[in-house]
Structures are given as C-alpha cells and as structure tokens.
Symmetry: D2
Subunit: 296 residues, 4 copies
C-alpha cells in the first residue's frame, strides 16, 4: 500500500495495490456486484494468506463493503433497502446461532461529531439481556439476548478499550461481540457513502486518533465482527493524493486536520440509525411495526 | 423510617426516626457544625451497629452531608469554597495512599437531566491512568493514577452496573473506587443543596429508577466511597408529607413523577463541575491555575 | 377558578369552575367526544362572552383539547392517528386559504427540557418560504409558504417575544401565525397526555416562568392559533389540590419547583415530533413517503 | 485575488494580492504588531478606496485580525489575555457611547459544529435590556443595555437573516449591531487561530454555505461591527493551493467538503467563550469576579 494514503477500508487498500502494480496480489480474492433497486455496490475482499495480509496491510478475513452515495442523502427508501441489505449481509458473514448472546460495543467519542457513530448507533439498539424471563410470551424466542456499551475513548476513561471489553466479557460471557466504529477513508468519495463489515477485529482510534490495542477474536476469545463507516479523510491523504511529491514537512502543519462534509452532524445521526436498524433486524425477529413501537 | 418517605440521605432517614420517636436511636451517632465563610452545614451520621442499620435503613458506615442552599444558585465564590471543603472532607473520610490508583464511576443516565450528574461529573475529571510514563517531569508524583467511566444504566446497556464495574475492576485492579450518583431526597429543601459523602456503597437507580445490585466494598473487593447530590423528590413523597392519610390508590397515578427545579438543566452542569473540582483537588496535587489549563 | 390551581388548559379551568359551583357557567359552551381507534377524547370549550372570559379566566375563543394517555408512551400507531387528528382539527379550527403564508413560532427555552417543546417542534417542520420559485414542478402548488422561528425566551434575548414577532411580522407579512408552547397543567394526569389547540393567543412563559406580553390576533394583526402540551404541574398546585388548607408560607419554599415525569427528556422529543407531523400535514399536501424523504 | 482561494479574511485576501503582484495595492493600508505576553499578532488592513475594494474583494472599512495559535489550545492565561485584547480592540474600532443600546446577533446554525460559533457565543453574553429599571442600585450605570439573538440560518427558518434583523431592529431601535459568525479561511494555519474584527458588515453563510443578503450599516441603518473566527477551510481551497493546475471537474466531487480540526467540537465551545468574555468586558463595566457570578 502506498505510504501516502491512510485508509481503514480493505477495499481502498486493495485499490492502492492495484494502482501500484496491476494484477490481483497473491492471497487476495475480490468480487463485486450491484444489488437491489438502489444499485448498492457490494464488494468482497478476502485476505487469505500471510502474503495477502502483508500486501493489503489488514489481517486475514473477509471484508464486505456496501457502497451507495444515497447513504449521505436523505432518501428514506434507499436507507431502508440498505438496512435490510446490511442485515442479510451480516447474517451471511457472521451467522449467529439461535441461543447466541451478543455484546455490541459502540467505539469512539460521542462528543466529537465525526467519531460519534458508535455511541449514536448503540443508543438505537433494542437491548434485551436484562429482560430475560420477564418478556411477554409472544416475544420470547423472537428476541435475542443483546447487551450494548459505549465505553468512550482512552482519553476520556484512562483505560484501554480492550481492557474494558475484556473485563466485561469475562464477566458476562457473550457468545459473540460486534464492534461499531467511525473509520477514515482514503478517498473523499467514500465518506459517509460506504459501510464496511468484517469478521476480523478493529483497532479503536485508527480512524481519527492514535492506534490502540486491537479488539479481535484473538484478544477477546469469541468471534468478533466489526461494522464501520468512513466519516473523514485525513487532510494529508487528500493532498498527497493530489501532489505525491509534497514534502513531509509541508504536511506537518495539517497533521490534526481532517476533511468532512458540511452536514456531518445531521448525516451522523442518520447513518447511526441505518446501522442500528440493520443490526436490530439481524439480531431479533420482529416486524418493522414491532420495532417501531419498541424503539423510536 | 416512615413508610411514606423515600430518601437516599442518611441525614433525612435519621430525621424521620427522630420525628417518630425522640432521642437518638441505638447505634447511631450524630454531630453537625457550620464551616467556612459561607456557613456550610456539615452533618455526620455514623451507623455503628446492626440495630443502627435497621433503624436508619442504611448499611453501617459514615455519612457526611454538606448542606448549603447557595449550591443551587450561581455564586462562584461559595462554589469554590464548597469544592475545597468537599476535597478536605473526602481526604478525611476516605484517605488515599500516595500510590493508590483510583477508578471513578459516574452512575446514571446522561440523557435524563435529573439523572445525569454522574456522567457529567466524570467528563470534568482529570484522567491520568493512560499517561503513566509519558507525563512531563514536573507533573510526575503530583498526579495520581485516575481512570473514569460512565457506563450508562441497565435500561441502556442490558447489563447490571455491578457486573460492568466488577469486570473492569478485575482487569485493572484499582486500589479504590469512587461512585458519583444523583439521589432522591425526602424534602424539597435539600434538592440541589446537599452533597452526601459515604464510605459505604450505593444502589444504582435508587434515586429515580428501580433498585439494582449494590455497589459496595463487599461486592467490589476494595474500599468504595460514594458521592451524591439529591436532584429530585418523589412526587409521592411530598404529597405524603403533606397528607399522611393519602391513600395508596390515589397516589398510583403519580408513581412516575418527580419534583425538580425549573432550572435543573443549568444547575446539573454547575453541580457536576463543583463535584469534579472537589474530586480533582482530592486526587491530584495541582494549583488552581494548573487545573484550569489541563481542564476547561 | 380556584385560587389554588394554576393551569394553562381551558378544559381544567372549566372543571375547576364546575367543582366550585355545579352547572355550566354563563358564556361557556362545552362538548366532548371519543374519536378514532385509540379513543382520543376531543373536548371543546367555547368562551363566548365577557362573563365567560371572567369565569374561566381565558380570552374569548375556542379551545379544543385532544387527550390520550398513549401520547406519553411509545406507541407509534397511536401517535400517527393523533398527528392525523391534530391536522384535521387544526384545519377545522383554523382553516387556511390556499395562498396563505404562515409563520410558525416555537416559544420556550430549548435548554430547559420541560420548556423545549416549541423549539424542538420547529426543527421538525418542513420550511419552504425561501424555496419559492426554485421548487421542482411536481411540488409547486402542494407546498404552502411556511417559515419558522424559535427566538428563545426573554431571559436569553433581553427582548420581549412579542417585540421579536411583531418586528419580523412587519417585515414578512405572513397571513397567519401559529405558536407552539409548553404549558402547565393543574392535574398530573394531563402532563404529556393532552394537546390544546386554540384560536386565541398565548402568554409566553405562563407555563413555567413569568407572564409576558400576550401574543394574540390583536397584538399581531393577523389570525393567531396556539398549540400547546402541558409538560409540568406546579409543585404548589399538586399540594394545594391534596391539602387545600396548606398555608402560603409553607409553600413558598417550593415556589420554583415543578412536577415532571422521569422520562421527560425522551417524551419531549416524541411529542415535538407528533406536533411537527400534524402541522406538516395541515400545512402541506404531501404523502407520508414524501414527508419522510424531505424530513427525517 | 486568486480564483483558487476562498477566504473571509481581508488579511488573506491581501496576502493573495501580494503573491500575485508585489507591492501594496492602491487603496489598501496595512500594518501589524505583536502585542502582549503571548505575542498575539495584530494586523490591520484598511480598505480606503473603490480600487482597494476591487483589489481585495471586500467593502471599504477596517479589518483587524488577532492571530495566535494558542487560541486553539487549552491555555487559559493566553485566552484571558486575548479576551482582554479583543475588548480593547473593539473599543478602539467600534467605540460606543455610554447610553448606546446594542443588539448582538449570533449568526450560523447551532446544529452544525463548525457553524455554531455565533449561537454558542450569544449564550455566554450578559444580556440586560429586559432588566432596565429593576437592576440593583450598584449595577445601574455599569451595565449597558444589551440584547442578543441567534435566529438560525435560512434553511432552518425560511427567512433571510437580513429580514429578521431588520424587522427586530425596526422594533427595538438599537444604536449599534454586532454580528458574530464562523468564517472560512484560505489557509489551514489560521483555522481556530484568528479573530477578525471589522466595522463593515457580513454576508451570512459565506463561510460554509451560500451567500445571503449582506448585513451592513447600509442595510441595517446603524453602525454594524462583525466578529468572526475561521473554523474551516474549503477542501477545494487546500487542494488548489497545493496543485493550482487541478481541473474544476476533478474538484466538483469535493464541493461540499471542508477541512476542520479533529477537536472542533471542544474548540468551538472554548472560542465562543473567549469571544463572549471579550464582548462582555467591552459592553459592561464589571470586574471578573462580578462577571463570574452573573454568568457561568
């Protein structure tokens, strides 16, 4: 991958590889298709071998990307279709058994608009773990045991997010963990227009902060999925794309800047709701009407 | 304690006892004094025996209350004096050793104004645990290792708060835990005008929700202090105070109502800052100017 | 009306009259009916004469109240029916001509949860006045010219709300003005469960602050409707209801307290959306789907 | 001024001129000096003639810029010095008579972080117009008559901001109007590090939205000052700076993107407080302690 670009999307890391040397790299499989009446582009990057990991700079696993520029506009029908597609794609990538109990973690800092996706999404989930045994008859068997947390970032807590999740997981013994995070893209076209799903883990803060200890199946002891949407591009990245010969020095001044859309505050809330809708459908077996009356 | 009153303040539980039968109950010690230029009333209730626990309905331990109606007004000088008094009182009630590492937990739901005190306070703390080894020379030895969390309430997470704290504590092994919570008073005069400090634990949600598993030295394995401010009175409580003969039925309609001041939103932010100031001074050894430039 | 009760609802003022002396007062007409599959109680109080004004303590005009306890629960179907009913009732009470341009004013202080209904509602309106001439063909003729403002309260601006609205109205010459405000009820049962519509004006701040200059057809020069929902009961009011003999002195301590539900923060957002939905349908001629894609 | 750059700062417009052709343009005067213990750079651009207006693309008047990178860090002492400098500079640029009544308008959309500076600043002002006649003796004569408004942007209200301010001004007849707004810079180095004061007007939305009708002494009928801080750089601008030959087409994709700092949410609150502090000192004659107890 080119030095000049920082991206959390496996899709973009592969594109950069192809730009540098044509032909799919060893250990990488790729396929894409258009899906649904809003023509969402579904791309799958499979990283299969250590050589593939090395080439693409991401751990072995499957990375599915749903791309649709309508995600950043206020087009409700498209959002419903994409929520639905998200739910089906998750079910394929990260199938759950009926009795599996799931912990959802919203990563990021809710006080920073471009980093608030995880916490915002968590507040739209149908959380049920504490209702076990007290649910009405007709809901038993249709609601999965789900719990959720938005622990904040290390600058707020003083604790590595990995430690927080490991501690809680040791206590509650979920069968699977799903992480939600805001990501950084390498191309402005993908900001707020792309959902990446993966069955590997995530590095909290890799989007707009410093890298922290990885949250992964290995460090957490159970299957881990991650769902992310790029909300920013590093300002360095877009300049380096345009002028690859720009010197490191001239870029140091813009080290803490990023590129983000004018309407990010409103879009973040909508994207969080799209993710929460998709997750709720994936986790529970309720009709839209039922969801609407349990959630707002 | 009278059936009619719900209060989280040991001070009020003792007052109710005295009203019912004059003379200090067995196993209870009480003293009070006025302190400082703003005449804050400092009361101490000591619950010493099982008989005392039974009488006052609170576990054995020391309950110190700082009362000052200026707490709910915008009087900065008084607030600085009370922050200072809070810091000193904490140092007396809950002395820390120099190397003790402390976890602060802000209990409550930040999306509910009258329950947001804990989360708001946590966001004003000087958190340092993650800076160990990378602090400037002149700060080493003056900043204690502090971490902090606002996990949300069980309705948001699906997890008992006790489980969350136990899990994290097992991982990070703090030497002491301090809990911050919004409380319920039995008397409207004490709303937003009273800070209770105790070396026993706390029952999350006892203020305005349902009682949950107790967070205490026993359940958490290390010394636990709790700091709370009553922000509400149950509507039932103020009616029952006025009309002790009011029937249970006539009260069921107002079961989910509480009495709160008109300016609660603004007062909650100020109170959270007073608590955070007091805690920061108690935990760290910095001048006011230094705190101001590390926090806002 | 009894001295002991403060209410902004004509319905309750009339009830208090009836309690004091049976039989409808002179100059007052009353009727009520249950409507719809959720059995919303629609009551109409008509104040017809100066004697009626005197008796009920409200200016001449029509006061329609939609009452349904489901308003404060999260029951989406009921909310849709009530939005619809609101839209129809407004069309009957305050009919607009096709070309009428309307100014909507959200009264109250958005930083105080129980007073934020007006500003919250305004942010959910489909505002169109600035789009005149640049709308797509298919929307011309179906969207009314609507503008909206949430000017804040006098403590924030230093300006009487009446002066602000008069100044703007002189400039933009709307054909009608609709005011949205949070109200105070006399009975806890009506908190968040009642929508009052009237073709008279409103006194900003009569709910939870001090009375200000009246916003009315007379002071604003065009027809004025007002829509309000009681979000609080004065704490004095509920005590005086229970113990009419309570002394004024014993009540002075609780003068700045009010009674409000535990989940007010969440309910306020839902109620604002119900009002905004009803207003949007009343003002514009769009299908639900179209509204959904123009608003979120 | 170069086609490639969009800036709201007269200082940057002049720099661009100098880059294009050395030597001060006709009708422009410039001077700069370092001030205070934090070495704030105070630059003054005077636009004196129609030729100057044409050259610099800004209306005739004086543009004073206070530049200090410490503005975007959390350095309280520097912020106090800059607030003080702001107050003195305003007094020099826009002197008020003792009896002058002032309207402050916070422009921008408080729901968009990078555009919220005006509304945030307004909420920190000491507003007094409504207290005339009811102030304590010792404050009379030391508090100026100040009112304030944050009307929102045209997309929220449907009304041109100019119309709103003209309407209110016609009603309340202030002697002077001061506008607060978030600006766009042409250079990332100036984001959140620069305060521009001018005695001409402002074009709402020129920073991150579409240009609206100008708020100026001419359109408002009284002296008008404007205070702004650049919070963003157009993404187009930073790319065009780096690659002047970039084609218009390649830039259209990033048309609605801007560059902003990672910690914008927190910085915006601090900057708003610095502006509000400076304005309060300029408007009223109170000590710091008095301000602290009237404001928070």
């Amino acid at each position: 991958m080119s030095e000049s670009m920082h991206t959390d999307l496996a899709l973009e890391a592969r594109e950069a590889l192809l730009n540098a040397s044509p032909g799919e790299a060893d250990g990488i499989l790729f396929e894409e298709e258009r899906v649904g009446s809003f023509h969402t582009l579904v791309s799958t990057v499979r990283v299969l071998t250590p050589a593939g990991e090395q080439a693409v700079g991401k751990p072995r696993g499957t990375y599915i990307t749903l791309e649709n520029p309508l995600l950043r506009q206020n087009v409700l029908d498209a959002h419903e279709e994409i929520s639905s597609l998200l739910s089906e794609t998750l079910a394929r990538l990260f199938p759950l058994k009926k009795k599996d109990r799931v912990l959802i973690v919203g990563l990021g800092n809710e006080d920073v608009t471009a980093d608030a996706l995880g916490p915002l999404c968590v507040s739209g989930l149908l959380v049920t773990r504490h209702l076990s045994g007290i649910l009405p008859q007709e809901l038993e068997g249709r609601l999965r045991s789900v719990c959720a947390l938005a622990p904040g970032v290390m600058g707020q807590t003083g604790i590595e997010t990995l430690e927080i999740i490991q501690g809680i997981q040791q206590k509650i013994r979920s069968d699977a963990i799903i992480l939600i995070d805001a990501l950084a893209a390498g191309n402005t076209r993908r900001i707020n227009a792309t959902i990446q799903l993966t069955d590997t883990g995530v590095c909290p803060g890799s989007g707009i902060g410093n890298r922290r200890q990885t949250l992964s199946p290995k460090t957490l002891g159970v299957p881990v999925a991650a769902i992310g949407i790029p909300t920013v591009v590093d300002a360095r990245t877009i300049i380096l794309e345009a002028v690859p010969e720009a010197s490191r020095e001239s870029l140091s001044a813009i080290d803490s800047l990023y590129v983000t859309p004018k309407d990010m505050d409103a879009v973040a809330k909508r994207l969080a709701r799209i993710l929460a809708d998709g997750l709720n459908r994936y986790l529970h077996d309720l009709s839209s009407e039922e969801f609407r009356s349990y959630l707002y």
